[in-house]
């Protein structure tokens, strides 16, 4: 880089440097005096300029939480780091440094303007988090692959791009290529792209762009599908019946059941399994649908409840506001009357009246609040009863459906056992030995073995069903408890906040009155 060689060695970004910079760049004149008097907290600083300071390493910036604009140009920084806490950053200038790769910008989601001019970057990447990016300056770098442009297509807000004096800008097709692949771009290399150029570029690269677009659309569609599936699953999860709308549970029963799988090769078991599966799935689907319905019901119940509570609170607030407005009107006029009054006795009397007014307001507001608390408590209790009933009913019904599953399993087990024993008998008689696979054959050693195998399979199945049931019940119960807790907690919070608010207001009023009193007495 052809930067004037600085005889000064690299400097560290320490507290002193930062303080100095903040002081220099902070408010000036009268405001500056105030600022000096009070001191400036780093987190209040919105803009910071640290150029020509021979900084080698970005450091110590974590306090500047609210920084909007940061200039670190003309230093000797080699690595982008230490910017993780600056989430509000909008403007970042890192030009004229020695950066080789783009990195460390993943938390800067609000960044709109990024300058990396005159560095040693050879590849554009790691910018994915910068969804609001509008201006990107990458001139005078070492970008040599045209494909980097395609990476920039993801920035929907990008309007200004500078890539001059890179190896790629030497390419004959450079301008056309960028115009074609970044159609929303307005300025390229400090010049406005005219419509004519745009059209030409589009025509020139139409074929490849169409292909690219097609691919992007496919990707997009895929993503959307994925998203939709995820949402669907999420919805089922909130109904606590995910994966019950198919044979998932049934399949999982057999997934870890090696004996069962082996036994399914027995003659007659195939059909048996088939009917068993059909019946089982039907019950699962029943549970699933019932679950969704119940979920809907619970949601409606909750919505109605929140709406009513909200309305009640609003109404109450309105009343409170009206009371306060009325009070303030009166209070203001009596305050000014007190100011104008000269007779000390009268003043005292009026002040007394005023404080009486204030305490009256306090009483009124508190009464309102207590009233609301009582009303809400009643409503919340009613809601709690209802929702608990609902959950209980749901659990009960699901359990009875699950019991049906178990019955099916028991039935199946008996059938299987029957078949197994008859098969064993046949094998003992030597009728059909050859048809069976070897590992299955190994089970038919004696009666105990086969009964154990069938029993093991049965146990696994029952376990799975029980587990699923337990999971459902636990989750819905905990959901219910959490919901109720939250409602109670919210109400308590609300109440505390309101009481605090009222007290604060009353205190303020009272202190205002007291101040007036003091002032008057002083006068």
């Amino acid at each position: 880089m052809n930067r004037p060689c600085n005889s000064m060695g690299p400097r560290v970004m320490d507290d002193d440097m930062l303080k100095l910079a903040v002081g220099d760049q902070g408010p000036q004149e009268e405001a500056g005096q105030l600022a000096k008097q009070e001191g400036i907290l780093f987190k209040d600083v919105l803009s910071l300029q640290l150029d020509f300071r021979n900084i080698l390493r970005i450091d110590n910036l974590w306090q500047f939480e609210n920084l909007r604009k940061l200039q670190l140009d003309n230093n000797i920084i080699e690595k982008i780091e230490g910017l993780e806490n600056l989430a509000h950053l909008v403007w970042l200038d890192l030009s004229f440094n020695n950066i080789e790769t783009i990195e460390g910008l993943d938390t800067l989601v609000n960044l709109e303007d990024l300058s990396l001019f005159n560095n040693r970057i050879s590849k554009i990447d790691s910018l994915d988090a910068l969804v609001k990016l509008q201006v990107l300056s990458l001139g005078n770098n070492r970008i040599d692959n045209m494909m980097n442009i395609i990476y920039l297509r993801r920035f929907k807000c990008l309007r200004t791009l500078s890539l001059s004096r890179n190896p790629i800008s030497e390419a004959e097709d450079y301008k056309m290529f960028i115009c074609a692949y970044l159609p929303d771009l307005v300025y390229l290399d400090y010049r406005r792209i005219d419509d004519h150029t745009k059209k030409l570029a589009e025509a020139k690269h139409q074929y490849s762009i169409d292909e690219l677009k097609h691919r992007e659309n496919l990707m997009q569609a895929q993503l959307e599908d994925e998203q939709a599936r995820r949402e669907e699953l999420e919805k089922h999860k909130t109904a606590f019946v995910e994966h019950l709308n198919g044979s998932f549970l049934f399949d999982s029963m057999y997934a870890e059941d090696s004996e069962g799988n082996k036994l399914s090769y027995l003659p007659g078991v195939g059909e048996l399994l088939e009917t068993y599966k059909d019946k089982f799935v039907i019950i699962c689907v029943n549970i699933f649908e019932y679950g969704l319905k119940q979920q809907e019901k619970r949601k409606t119940e909750l919505d109605t409840f929140s709406e009513c509570v909200h309305e009640a609170i609003q109404e109450n607030q309105e009343q409170g506001k009206r009371k306060i407005a009325k009070f303030e009107e009166k209070h203001l006029s009596s305050l000014s009357a007190i100011r104008e009054e000269s007779e000390l006795r009268n003043i005292e009397k009026m002040i007394l009246e005023c404080s009486a007014d204030i305490s009256e307001l306090f009483d009124a507001l508190m009464t309102l609040e207590m009233q609301l608390v009582e009303q809400l408590e009643e409503t919340i209790n009613m809601f709690e009863r209802n929702i608990v009933d609902m959950v209980g009913l749901f659990i009960e019904n699901v359990q009875s459906l699950m019991a049906q599953c178990r019955d099916l399993e028991n039935h199946h087990h008996e059938k299987l056992l029957e078949i197994s024993i008859s098969t064993l008998e046949k094998i003992v008689e030597g009728d059909l030995g050859e048809d069976l696979p070897n590992d299955l054959r190994a089970l038919f050693v004696d009666k105990d073995t086969i009964v154990n195998a069938v029993g093991a399979s049965h146990d696994i199945h029952l376990l799975k069903i029980d587990n699923r049931e337990d999971e459902l019940v636990t989750r819905i119960n905990s959901w219910c408890t959490r919901l109720i807790d939250k409602i109670h907690k919210d109400e308590i919070m609300r109440n505390r906040k309101r009481v605090k608010e009222i007290n604060q207001y009353i205190d303020h009023m009272q202190s205002e009155l007291d101040n007036l009193e003091c002032g008057d007495i002083l006068d």
Binding site: A31, I40, E501
Partner: protein, 809 residues
């Protein structure tokens, strides 16, 4: 009571003529009560008949010998067609029939008033009443339905009392033949019960009101001396009866021609009917009118109730059944039989009246001379045709406090086509409050302006069309000490600004015309909630107490709170004990915060907020000042507009729009010139010469050459003649001038100054003429050879002289 001086003819489309019997002309010779009473009850009872269609007619003023007001000079009889002055044999016959009928009638009913059958027309020729009606369809949609049509007729009519209120001495008629009716009864969706309750309530209120009013009225009436009409029941009137049936008219009703209102046949103002007629027949009412018209049955086909004059011309469809037992007629009299036989062969002759034509101007003018005054009880309504008044005034309603109409209560004036979009001016005389209403489009977007005086800084309210204004101002209220403005839809969410002013300070130094604005004591501004900001940073109200150097801020209330943050800045700049300027101290900003925040505690923050507010205060003051200026401007503009009261003229109004008129005339002129030019170019030079030759034959070469030579020599001769003519005139003028000059030189001494002036002006004119002649001559000399060559060329190319061409080719 009154008789109509005009004859209104109501006409209908020919196709609808057979429907004519539906509308009848009722004439009543007993009469209505005094007009004033009637006016009070002007309610339209039959709103459902809204769509009754009607043809209206032009109004011709009939000259009646008895009424000197309308003497012959109002109408030029000589220009009227023959049918006005003579009767056709058929009409004579009809008159005889009528006479005969009348004789029989008076014989049978000696007690009743003689029939009104054939009054004299404007030419003093007796005409049968039915023939004065001529159904005509007019091209104005407004005349298609009965209500607007009746309104039009009533606008045109002016009431003039008869010399003898009991006798329509001369036969004067007014006819309206409404015929077709369409009816669209509005669907009634109101609850009957509610209506009843409402009515009950209203009735109660009204009863009380009435009682009160009546007492007062009685008192007033007493004073007024409302003498009972001695002629009650004897007055004569004519009005229109519309029969149900056609055009979906559900029931019969009356239309009074003076008011254009409809009345139910049950209305008690109509005391009775003597006879009815339309353009086809004439009926006498044979029913008893003891109970006004309430018991009358309007079945014209029933010969017991309605005695007809002509048989068979139109049996009312109502009567088909009764038609069959028409024997009833015969019971009466044998005489009737003969008459009827005679009548049977007789048709009503065609109307002698000219077809009515209403020009668009006349239609627009409506009333005679475009002006009409209607006197109501305690009110006067004046109407004018559009553009009649130069200030666009079209109607004025004046209401009075007393019956004598001397103390004006309020005046309402309606305007049309004003360039300043003024629509209505309302002047309340008791409070002296004037209110102007504007239609959208005023240059200052005014909507309403109410004021007591046009002086600035007085009580006034100005409302605006806020969407037409950049600043979204809706309303500005002013009192001598305050100005309040209401805004909507502004990007800074300002909704309200109130400024109070202190007394003006006398400035001793400023002697210039520089304005001396009143000092602003206080500015209050309120803002709507800005959803982009958190509530505790969104100012709801800020008050600049300019005089106290104090700024109060009130913030919006957060969604879940009942109190709002407040902040008060004291902008006093003070100096501390060491003489340093105090920039900011904690007691300069008193704040109450609902949710205390850390950064607002900082002096720096407060200082910056205060600086910002200071700037805002300056801006607000400037805004107030600008608003004051704007008021001045509006007042000035209004005064100018009132003085100029320019009217707008639609570009489609070809008569009034000067520009379009000019343009049209220019176009016409151009067309004309173009036409002339074309004619000229088509002038056939050869025609006179060709005419000498036998037609149809092809020219020989010799003939062609001769023709050409003749034509050319003729043209040459003409050019020479023209030159000579110009030359001769030129010489004549020159000689005359010389003579005059000679004369002048000889008599110069004795000439009076007037003669000298005369001479000088003559000289200059003569010189001008000479110069022009000279120019023309020169030009002619220049152009003549060219014209000659052009003609030669033209002839050469003329296809008829093709022979010539061949040779030369």
């Amino acid at each position: 009571m009154e008789v109509l001086r005009e004859k209104v003819e109501e006409e209908e489309e020919a196709e609808r003529e057979e429907a004519a019997e539906r509308a009848e002309w009722a004439r009543m010779e007993k009469m209505m009560r005094p007009v004033e009473v009637r006016k009070e009850e002007n309610t339209l009872k039959q709103e459902t008949l809204r769509d009754l269609e009607k043809k209206l007619s032009e109004i011709q003023i009939t000259v009646s010998a008895e009424l000197p007001a309308f003497t012959k000079d109002t109408i030029d009889i000589s220009k009227l067609p023959v049918s006005y002055k003579t009767n056709t044999p058929k009409e004579e016959h009809l008159l005889q029939v009528a006479d005969n009928f009348s004789c029989q009638y008076s014989h049978l009913c000696p007690d009743r008033v003689p029939l009104f059958l054939h009054p004299l027309n404007e030419c003093e020729v007796p005409k049968f009443v039915s023939t004065t009606l001529r159904p005509t369809l007019m091209p104005y949609p407004e005349l298609y339905n009965w209500d607007s049509c009746a309104q039009f007729v009533s606008d045109f009519l002016t009431m003039v009392p008869l010399p003898d209120p009991l006798k329509p001495t001369i036969k004067k008629e007014e006819k309206v033949l409404p015929k077709k009716y369409t009816i669209k009864p509005p669907r009634d969706l109101c609850s009957r019960f509610e209506q009843e309750q409402e009515v009950k309530k209203q009735q109660e209120i009204r009863a009380q009101e009435k009682k009160r009013l009546r007492e007062e009225e009685e008192r007033l009436m007493e004073a007024e001396k409302a003498k009972p009409d001695a002629l009650h029941g004897l007055r004569v009137h004519s009005w229109v009866l519309v029969l149900s049936g056609k055009r979906e008219v559900p029931e019969n009703f009356f239309i009074d021609p003076f008011t254009g209102h409809s009345y139910s046949t049950q209305d008690e103002h109509f005391l009775g009917i003597e006879s009815l007629w339309n353009h086809k027949n004439y009926w006498i009412n044979m029913q008893d009118c003891w109970n006004c018209c309430k018991d009358l049955i309007f079945d014209l086909g029933d010969p017991v109730r309605w005695e007809y004059m002509l048989l068979g011309t139109d049996k009312s469809q109502l009567s088909l059944t009764e038609e069959d037992d028409s024997g009833i007629n015969d019971e009466d009299d044998v005489e009737n039989l003969g008459k009827e036989d005679e009548d049977k062969s007789f048709d009503m002759p065609h109307s002698w009246v000219e077809q009515i034509e209403i020009s668009p101007e006349a239609f627009e003018t409506r009333c005679p001379n475009g002006k009409k005054v209607i006197q109501y009880k305690r009110a006067k309504l004046e109407k004018w045709a559009p553009y009649l008044n130069s200030n666009g005034l079209v109607s004025r309603l004046t209401t009075y406090e007393d019956l004598q109409c001397t103390n004006i209560l309020e005046i309402k004036e309606w305007y049309q086509n004003r360039e300043d979009m003024l629509e209505l001016k309302h002047i309340n005389k008791t409070t002296d409050l004037k209110t102007d209403y504007f239609k959208p489009g005023h240059p200052q977007a005014l909507r309403v302006h109410s004021y007591k005086s046009m002086q600035p800084e007085m009580d006034r309210v100005i409302e605006f069309y806020e969407t037409a204004r950049v600043d979204g101002l809706m309303k500005r209220e002013e009192t001598p000490r305050t100005m309040t403005e209401y805004y909507q839809g502004r990007p800074d969410f300002l909704s309200y600004r109130h400024a109070s002013f202190g007394p003006r300070v006398k400035k001793l130094t400023l002697s210039s015309a520089e304005s001396n604005p009143r000092p602003i004591v206080k500015i209050t501004e309120r803002f709507f909630r800005n959803p982009a900001k958190p509530a505790e940073e969104d100012v709801a109200e800020r008050v600049f107490l300019v005089a106290e150097e104090r700024i109060q801020l009130r913030y919006h209330c957060r969604e879940d709170h009942i109190t709002a943050s407040k902040r008060e800045f004291l902008r006093r700049t003070e100096v501390d004990s060491k003489g340093n300027k105090i920039i900011m101290t904690p007691d300069m900003c008193i704040s109450f915060e609902v949710e205390p925040m850390e950064h607002t505690k900082k002096l720096l923050y407060q200082y910056e907020a205060m600086m910002h507010l200071k700037r805002e205060e300056k801006l607000s003051r400037h805004q107030v000042w600008e608003s004051e200026l704007e008021v001045l401007e509006i007042l000035k503009l209004r005064e100018e507009e009132e003085a100029a009261h320019t009217l707008t003229i639609s570009i489609y109004d070809t008569k009034r729009n000067e520009k379009s008129k000019e343009y049209r005339e220019a176009m016409e002129r151009m067309m004309h010139e173009e036409h002339l030019r074309q004619v000229e170019t088509q002038l056939d030079y050869l025609a006179p010469f060709l005419a000498q030759l036998p037609p149809g034959e092809k020219l020989t070469r010799w003939q062609a050459v001769r023709l050409k030579d003749e034509c050319l020599s003729d043209f040459k001769q003409r050019l020479i003649n023209k030159a000579n003519l110009i030359q001769a005139r030129f010489e004549k003028e020159t000689q005359e001038l010389q003579k005059k000059q000679q004369w002048y030189q000889e008599n110069q001494v004795t000439l009076t100054p007037e003669d000298e002036d005369l001479y000088l002006s003559y000289c200059s004119q003569a010189m001008f003429r000479i110069r022009i002649l000279e120019q023309r001559l020169n030009r002619h000399k220049e152009l003549a050879p060219l014209k000659y060559l052009a003609l030669e060329e033209k002839l050469y190319k003329d296809p008829r002289l093709g022979e010539l061409q061949k040779i030369f080719a």
